[in-house]
Symmetry: C2
Subunit: 337 residues, 2 copies
């Protein structure tokens, strides 16, 4: 038996006929302003009952076409494959729903063309706000939104044309670097400069983290090794390659490392496991990002956990206030365990 009949959907007109009343009354009852429209509670009850019996669900397309506001809020996100973005998406949905907004999310696989296409699609769905998370070209998206009269925000990576909410990368990296340097001193007896690995030098976050990295070295009076700053990309393979290239050319790799994301850390740890260089003494790592299994890796790994609820609270504050200033930068400090 196949019950999958593509049966016609119940509309307010069907309900009106069943209830012996008008579609107008049905609409008023079902969207809750029947008091304002002076519908008797008798009729309201009857309509509500019939609607339930019929399994009625409003047609949002029709409803939204008529209303002036859609109450839809869109988010684009690069990937769902790590805890940071997963947590962003989950928190976004919860907070949006708590505010009576309908969240729609789409992932763009770090593909600039997909980002633009996704933004256009969101606009077609009449989103009231679009939040661009980790976008490669956030300003382009802001332009598209502006042209359509839609407001937008940047999250995680900043742009210049809309308010951006990001981690306080400089202060976070400075603190993480400091902690890692101190760990190195405690475990190996002497302070030594760290290796910076992962991320793209062209992206704002990586640049700021490198700045914090430098500053912490300066704070503690440790000289930086310029060729020990490897912004080789985020991908695990890139990080692994960079390390093995360094090991090949220099014969060693610093014991202390600042790893720019859990994504890169995956490659770093894989390489370390495969190399004999750390057989005697395990590496001492600071990772700018958080993952529960990393805490279990058994090594000395310090993590800076980006404050996702904090960032999204800031974002929804702006959404609720109505609008933000062009290009304002809001920095949220990451958390340390």
């Amino acid at each position: 038996m196949n019950q999958q009949r593509p049966q016609k959907k119940t509309t307010i007109y069907d309900l009106a006929e069943l209830a012996g009343t008008s579609a107008s009354a049905v609409s008023a009852v079902l969207n809750g302003n029947w008091k304002k429209r002076r519908i008797s509670s008798q009729l309201a009850e009857k309509i509500t009952r019939i609607a339930e019996e019929q399994g009625y669900a409003v047609n949002m397309q029709a409803s939204l076409l008529r209303r002036e506001k859609s109450r839809i809020i869109g988010m684009i996100v690069p990937k769902y494959d790590n805890r940071y973005f997963g947590s962003i998406v989950e928190t976004f949905e919860i907070m949006a729903r708590a505010r009576g907004l309908f969240p729609i999310i789409t992932c763009t696989l770090r593909d600039p063309d997909l980002e633009i296409e996704a933004a256009r699609t969101m606009l077609s769905y009449q989103v009231e706000w679009l939040i661009s998370t980790g976008a490669t070209d956030p300003d382009r998206i802001t332009d598209i939104c502006l042209a359509a009269g839609t407001r937008s925000l940047n999250l995680d990576l900043p742009g210049t044309k809309a308010t951006s909410i990001i981690s306080d990368n400089f202060a976070g990296a400075r603190e993480l670097t400091k902690r890692t340097l101190i760990n190195v001193e405690q475990k190996s007896g002497a302070m030594a400069p760290l290796l910076f690995i992962g991320g793209r030098g062209s992206d704002h976050n990586t640049a700021e983290r490198i700045r914090g990295f430098r500053m912490a070295h300066q704070d503690l009076g440790v000289p930086i090794e310029e060729h020990h700053i490897l912004a080789c990309g985020y991908a695990p393979e890139k990080a692994a390659q960079a390390l093995s290239a360094m090991a090949a050319s220099e014969g060693s790799v610093p014991r202390g490392m600042f790893v720019n994301s859990t994504i890169s850390l995956e490659g770093v740890m894989r390489w370390i496991k495969s190399s004999p260089l750390f057989d005697a003494a395990p590496p001492i790592i600071g990772c700018f990002d958080w993952d529960p299994f990393v805490a279990l890796l058994g090594h000395d790994i310090e993590m800076a956990r980006q404050d996702v609820p904090g960032m999204l609270t800031a974002a929804f504050d702006i959404v609720e206030k109505g609008s933000g200033d062009t290009g304002k930068l809001i920095e949220i400090p990451p958390l340390f365990a």
Copy 2:
């Protein structure tokens, strides 16, 4: 300067006026069937150009209201906080888009009420299909869909009223158990029964995995210890508690373990790290689920990776074929590294 003017959106009527033509022609040109409607390519070009200049985006609400099919496909998912669901969601989006469908996803936090509410909301948005992933009460959702004439599928956890696509939990668990038992024999010299930990005994997947677990023991002639089957829930804390209770009452814990998910594994590893029981010899683990960092934990951990692309390919096959039989069960074998 604040450019966030909530300006009125451009419609096909605006474009028609600018082009000195009718809205009908504009519509035909912009949705691509202007050839069929015999619009000259001159006019088509002109309209296209003007639409681009104005940054026009169709109003999907209006468009969908008129069309008979929405081409929207919905998915509900419990959480975004592990690789399995992350990968499901990402693959779902990619595959949906490749088929010209618009995916909308919502997470329900394993809350039965939220599941129902989310399903209703999806129906309001006129989804053509609803995929319930890991739902606590998939049949309830199928009923709601059926009442609205919408088709539905179950993923990950099966139901009886719609086609279900799940991992081959029995065969997968049998193989994983076998591999883990052999690992135990190789590392500790003798075969010994495993501990089963994590999951809910009431859920189909856990029950099937326990069945496979038993069968593998039987295959290899290893007796099962009934009190070593702990379906204590998925949460990390639950797993950790169950282990420490066992250690307290029995003084030891089997060295070989079958852990029912990476979620539970988190608690298991945390407890192991905190306990002296495994200081001498590390545990030997089989985990029914996959995570890249788990592979780096440095222990002997075998993983059964659920075949997400395989499962979603099966799902979209059904979506494209139009409809599936009531309650059919499709089992996809998990992968071993």
